[in-house]
Symmetry: C4
Subunit: 308 residues, 4 copies
Amino acid sequence: MPDPRRRQHQEAVTRQRLGQPETGWRQRWYTIIFEADTREGRTFDLALLVAIVASVMVVMLDSMAAVNQRLGTAFTVLEWSFTLLFTTEYVMRILVVRRPLRYALSFYGIIDFISIMPTWLAVFLPELHFLIDVRLLRLLRVFRILKLTVYFEEAEILYRALLNSRRKIFVFLGAVFIITVILGTVMYVVEGPEHGFRSIPLSMYWAVVTLTTTGFGDMVPKTALGQFITSLTILLGYGIIAFPTGIVGAELAASILKRPLTTRTCTHCLTEGHEADSMYCKHCGSPLPEYQNDRPEVPGGRDGTPAP
Amino acid sequence: MPDPRRRQHQEAVTRQRLGQPETGWRQRWYTIIFEADTREGRTFDLALLVAIVASVMVVMLDSMAAVNQRLGTAFTVLEWSFTLLFTTEYVMRILVVRRPLRYALSFYGIIDFISIMPTWLAVFLPELHFLIDVRLLRLLRVFRILKLTVYFEEAEILYRALLNSRRKIFVFLGAVFIITVILGTVMYVVEGPEHGFRSIPLSMYWAVVTLTTTGFGDMVPKTALGQFITSLTILLGYGIIAFPTGIVGAELAASILKRPLTTRTCTHCLTEGHEADSMYCKHCGSPLPEYQNDRPEVPGGRDGTPAP
Amino acid sequence: MPDPRRRQHQEAVTRQRLGQPETGWRQRWYTIIFEADTREGRTFDLALLVAIVASVMVVMLDSMAAVNQRLGTAFTVLEWSFTLLFTTEYVMRILVVRRPLRYALSFYGIIDFISIMPTWLAVFLPELHFLIDVRLLRLLRVFRILKLTVYFEEAEILYRALLNSRRKIFVFLGAVFIITVILGTVMYVVEGPEHGFRSIPLSMYWAVVTLTTTGFGDMVPKTALGQFITSLTILLGYGIIAFPTGIVGAELAASILKRPLTTRTCTHCLTEGHEADSMYCKHCGSPLPEYQNDRPEVPGGRDGTPAP
Amino acid sequence: MPDPRRRQHQEAVTRQRLGQPETGWRQRWYTIIFEADTREGRTFDLALLVAIVASVMVVMLDSMAAVNQRLGTAFTVLEWSFTLLFTTEYVMRILVVRRPLRYALSFYGIIDFISIMPTWLAVFLPELHFLIDVRLLRLLRVFRILKLTVYFEEAEILYRALLNSRRKIFVFLGAVFIITVILGTVMYVVEGPEHGFRSIPLSMYWAVVTLTTTGFGDMVPKTALGQFITSLTILLGYGIIAFPTGIVGAELAASILKRPLTTRTCTHCLTEGHEADSMYCKHCGSPLPEYQNDRPEVPGGRDGTPAP
């Protein structure tokens, strides 16, 4: 249930912030590039998305030796075309807004910039050219075009759960870091370079891989003591590593369970918190006003539908 | 708590939808094939289940080189027998219902169809013949025979938890996908083909395996920088990957905790599920009988205590 | 806070069920072997525990080649000593109770029996002798001696959470099984015997190892298609595998959250559910009777202490 | 929300416990070393943190063969400098407090001591010198300096969740231990030394690695029976291993959801934390002001809404 009014409101805010030009070609292009309401605006955004996906595909395929040998030159041409295209688009965006610096420093402005840099920098540092894949971040715009604003709200729930847990997660990461250093050191002493634990930092890498139960198997304890310590560590670490899931799950459960059913109030005795399908006050028995659900995507909680 | 009336009701609905023939052999066979109430019907269903399991076992054993060499021919014969049997059954099902298309396009109709196709297609494309294992999906019928409808309800709870979380899960999968592409690219640049990261898609495969803490170990970072990035990624990814568990757990907890707290029924309009502290029916406004909590270990639930 | 009265009650029940002999040496030995209240009884139980641990240690050490070569004969002697000891004990238990069959078929009776069988059977089937490790189950008696009955209650909470989730877990296991068969078949077709997927059952083993994110790495996809399917599978499987944690966590959360704070009732207005530290009724303001917490190990919920 | 008054209060408590000297140089140094309010005190603490991190870095780098060859002597000198520095600091701490033993036996006192021991002991036992990494535990002081006392509260929530679950976790670990022994024995019998399961303790190490879904892959089942047992074990074990996450998550969810909903304060006796529907103070019985919830969508908020 994406809300068109909401998006239009957001675009008005953006217009305000970046300073929409009032007249002339800049005003026209502003509408095409920054908004998605006119037919031209939508066509532009869709073309942009296709170009982004295509350019990332090119980089991916280019990295495969078999493909690269046959189509290498074509891909280089394509990559430069995309980069020129995106660079032009970036310059246009700078030109048509009245406060270019504000755009350049905005979230999307920075992503737009770093998505064109790698090809240019690759002239000097060839390895960098693969980093064009950060262009993928530009796909976040897809939410705007497809009017999937409801996803933003879900993302916000996840984000808020993460935000609420940030201190617990910092404490947890601090504990994991200290455990990693100590475990890495102990295993370096116990197993030693002859069993692949060649240095403490390498042992710490192993400790992270083990504590998180990833277990690549490229380094494994060979001595009985090392295996014993590893067994204990995995069990202890498993308990510790249960925390992120527990923390996040608890925050999410709290956010789901604390969702109010409705805020309908009895006009007679002022009792609040009636269910979405109640028609009479549960406290005094007088009729309730009709239920108007004004928050469309959390309709009356998860088990209620608006009463007729 | 399997409910026989419930199953009979479902069968009546099915009969209505597919159009049960009123008389003759088709009516007789309809009862045998589609229903499970008569002795013949039950025998038919049981024989079917045994045939399904047996035919899947044959395919499995046939794939083992040692068994295949000794019993290959016997297995080919068996496989064709089962396929002919299931084809006959499918044709019968089509014949005895009055609206064959509706059956053919129903959930079970499609499963029945794709479970006989592989053997026929394998005449042209030999590899396909192993796909007969999709026949296993036909085992879902077991629920009908064993009257395990209560399991459907549990499955429905799990399914609804999944459905409620679908947007969160899409946001999560989108985030994982973008992380996978960027991480795959970074590792391809850092480690390179000489350490097994031969292309970006291959590195992305590694990224998925690592982020989910599966850690096959077929590709592992060899450079110090790669190991450092891997350590960070695992820790960060572990936090991200905690979300599915958290999301699903939270939804399940919500569904368990929101289970109606009382079974109080309005003596006037027979509406059930009033809250523990309600004094008037939320549906018709007539007074409720006093609340008698007879389930002591869920005392008063989470938000209400019995009114005095 | 183990409760001695509680244990004595349990012993009385046991005495009732197994039939305690009234007089003579059998009565004396019954007290020593089956009860833990007299000094002799406690000494016997402790000696038994030590013997159990020692006998399991012997089996473990015996399996290590280096130790076995040096101490093999000594260990064989020890093992037979322990087995003779436990056999004597078992015979004694049978002799001193009045209803031997009831003991033999009780939970502990069966464990006691299967913990002496392996050595005797090993005379014929040498491999079986390692199975003496099931003796470890006898350690469950430790709870009785150390009066750790409170742990039984915690185990019961876990057990009940498991019991409440049993149908969800069956549905989940069924889904995993069907996914395993289909995935195993697909990977057998895609990767084939030349990449280690030698048969469908072997591919199913790989599918379980992969779906659960264990990832041994002994079999890994080599083809691009196989790696793509694996990536998808891991992500999808990760979602599915999140269910056990979610199910168990949700049940546990429900059992923790539904714990009543207290059942204190206001003697004036009969409002229930006051907190453990409340001194006046929250509804009518009249004084509350003093709080008597009679369940010592769940003291007043998790945030309250008895009022003075 | 770091609370300066709170920290000052803690320092006052520490001063009380350790016995702050009243006058002279000891009083001056006490302020510098133990407190963080004066400019000197803060400078000292910061310098200490830098020294701790630097000394741990030295040990880590020293363990890398390439670095060690080039800078080994310099690192030995640095390490001894740090150790002398920390030893001096420890002696100073002992000198300036009036009750040295109480400091020496306090949490930080013990950490301070064991962080200087390894270098001294390494004169006799060279391997021990890597254990200086325990110095990292001294970084816990960082919380004091950065006034991050709020993190202590979050850590306390995690700690209490762990504490509340301790019995469940012991029961769980006991079950895992018994499963590990039995599974280890079974796999030793089934797979045997020729497939790498060389002894029962080694098989137990494998069982822990497998049950926790770590899956190093250094030991894998080779026989069909072994693979079948492994598949079952992983699935069963996955269910069991879901418990720590579930337990911890449930406790955390309970602590989040049970957070007091209001900060309503009795105007008479100043007791806080009344429930939203209370009408009389639970402590003194005087009427409470009416409850005004002004933040509707996080009802009661996560830390309380101001009383009117």
